[in-house]
Amino acid sequence: MDFTYDDEQQALREAVRGLLATAYADHDARRRTVADEPGFDRALWGRLAEMGVLGLPFAEEHGGVGAGPVEIGIVCQELGRVLAPEPYLASVVHAGGLVAALGSPEQKADLLGRLSAGEVVLAAAVTSPGGRWASRADGVRASVSGDAWTLDGVADPVVAGGSADVLVVAAELPDEGGTGVFVVDAADVERTGYAAADLTRAASVRFAGSVATPLGAPGRDLAPSIATISDLTRIMGANQSLGVMQSQVRATTDYLKSRKQFGVTLNTFQALTFRAADMYVSLELAHSMVDWATMTIAGGDREVVAEAADRVGLEVSRAGRHIGQEAIQLHGGIGMTAEYAVGVGTAHLEVLDQWLGNAPHHLSRLAGRVTDHELVEALA
């Protein structure tokens, strides 16, 4: 049992942090980037590809690096620290994860190779309008005629869907055959992009007879795999949230030390410093859960990962709401402004949770299983 990074992991963290510092030296840089389309920095995306970060999760034979979940978590934490709007979670972890899990060798080599090289952006279209983290598709239907598949319906939100070149789409198979996963060229759909509250981008995607290629062997019900990749994405999203929260606690602490009111700095007021202490408590507890959940992935057991996703999802959602709200409150008015990173961080935390699974969702699932075990075991 070991909660520390090895030297290579430390080096990866430093390298990613260094690269992100050039692109997002301050919050103004992030503001400028999200003010324009595509809502992220394509040059930075390219440098992440060169550094191997985009190919981190994928096998070397498919153009990737073959790193483990801890490394991917490190990248997500660093992205979170600077509120980077790059679609790493959506494109690499989620959509790339679906391709890596379900694609044929040729599809993997093609799509993951180009994704790793920064040549294409992928997006996963798995949620229907009004839908709530289901692994069964219900907004898009697949039809087959001979070997030719087409899709009809709407997916929304499709995170990074506006800038994606290729969509990885969950769709209902004919004859109640369950949920299939298809690759669709973004040129063959109707897309309406929009910004979420944190100014990261998503899209509403309409399929109307769109030509689709099954990912892997066609016609199988892939709902369990979709669920597993969602769980993995949830855990990596929690890593990203952790990075955001770390920055918020640091910013709040710095602000309390420097901001004066009534002739003294705010850290003179015990009611405020104690609330900062409570923020730190939430942060550390969430940090532990994030590390744990990330480590569970290596074991490769789907049910263990599903459990870990619910547990870290609940913990990070609670911590994120607490820290995100207190960060604004302890900053006062300035925390409400788009010019300042703290309030935008609070928006980012909510977008991550509502996209990937919020506290009531995870709690409801955990509550359903509460009598299935006697004790929750931290160590196997």
Partner: protein, 383 residues
């Protein structure tokens, strides 16, 4: 003790309900009830409808359009407006500068400003907060220097809500830098079209343009636009900020917002955990509303009841809690915050994240919740 309204009060309430639901345009009320943004014109139109009926500024002196109502009647008026989705008369006009001019202004100021203020012919903005004077308002730095009969104003105000619509702004300025900081402050009324006044938008995290910075560079203000005496500004500001007993907590609006969620997220109301969360909030809102009624029933004369701080504190907490519930009910659909109206996601769900973020301000502005706790612990508990 008794729970029923007197026949007269019940009749009063019925009259308010009737008027609000029939005379204020439906489109304006729907906009409020659905949590969408009102235009400047809608706000003005609604207030003029009220003012024509004598319902815009009932708490003002009768000669300036007020009504000789009891506090309970004012409460009922205020709750019925929220219930019907009627925009509350613009606070800067109706609750802030109007009562101040009526109390401290010259006769000339009263006749010049009060009718236009009641009818929203003048849109007032508030110029109190500064970048380094938030909760610690008394340390403000904007100066007004006497020059003949005029004052020359320099400095910066911030968090000026809806300042982009403002015709005039009432400001706290430092007229005497030599004396104790509260004693050197005066209140000036400034025409925002005066040369040297510049309004710059501040973008908030919900993407809206709701607050502004207002810069004053050698702005010349005629001497007859000072309210009260030089140095009386702090007293006037305390009067202005403590003037509210009714409507401190947005009970009615929060109740409506919660009730609305039961309809728009009807399917999720089958979930026992959602039901419990709604039930808990409804109960807390009832306790808050009853406390507002107790405060109304107990308050005597012009002094604000100290429990107003309880209403502000709890009222904003519950407003925020309901916005959290809305966001959690919206789930992934909440990502479509800045999607256009043709989005396949429902409007309430799209607005849930911006509303959640916007309401974070509720515990900061108008006396932060920390200030309210300070008032309770010092003034009420004597700590």
């Amino acid at each position: 003790m008794q729970l029923e309204l007197s026949p007269a009060d019940a009749e009063f309430r019925a009259r308010m309900r009737e008027f609000f639901t029939t005379k204020v345009p439906q489109e304006i009320r729907d906009t409020v009830l659905e949590g969408r943004h009102l235009t400047r014109d809608q706000i003005v139109e609604s207030q003029r409808v009220l003012n024509a009926e004598g319902l815009a500024v009932p708490h003002w002196p009768e000669e300036w359009g007020g009504q000789d109502w009891t506090d309970l009647q004012r409460h009922l008026w205020h709750e019925e407006m929220q219930r019907a989705g009627v925009p509350i008369p613009l606070a800067f006009n109706a609750s802030m500068i109007g009562p101040v001019i009526a109390q401290f202004g010259t006769e000339e100021q009263k006749s010049r400003f009060l009718p236009d203020t009641a009818n929203l012919d003048i849109w007032w903005s508030q110029g109190f907060s500064e970048p380094d004077a938030g909760s610690d308002l008394a340390s403000l730095r904007t100066t007004a220097v006497r020059d003949g009969d005029d004052w020359v104003v320099n400095g910066q105000k911030t968090w000026t809500t809806l300042g982009q619509h403002g015709d005039w702004i009432f400001t706290l300025v430092r007229t005497d830098p030599e004396v104790k900081k509260q004693a050197g402050i005066s209140m000036l009324l400034i025409d925002m079209t005066t040369p040297g006044v510049e309004v710059r938008p501040i973008e908030l995290i919900d993407g809206g343009h709701e607050v502004n910075e207002v810069w004053f560079t050698d702005v010349r203000v005629p001497g007859d636009l000072l309210v009260g005496e030089p140095g009386q500004g702090w007293t006037i500001a305390k009067f202005l900020l403590g003037n509210e007993r009714v409507g401190v907590a947005p009970v009615g609006a929060t109740k409506r917002a919660l009730a609305g969620l039961k309809t728009v997220a009807a399917a999720q109301m089958e979930d026992p955990m959602v039901r419990a969360r709604v039930a808990e909030l409804e109960n807390q809102l009832l306790a808050l509303e009853l406390t507002a009624l107790r405060v109304v029933a107990h308050s005597a004369g012009g002094e604000p009841h100290p429990a107003s701080s309880v209403l502000k504190l709890r009222g904003t907490e519950l407003q925020q809690a309901v916005s959290e519930l809305a966001l959690d009910l919206a789930g992934p659909a909440s990502l479509a915050s800045r999607a256009e109206e043709d989005s396949p996601q429902e409007g309430w769900a799209r607005r849930s994240a911006p509303t959640y973020l916007n309401y974070r301000k509720a515990s900061i502005y108008g006396g932060s919740n920390e200030i309210q706790r300070q008032i309770i612990s010092r003034t009420i508990l004597g700590l």
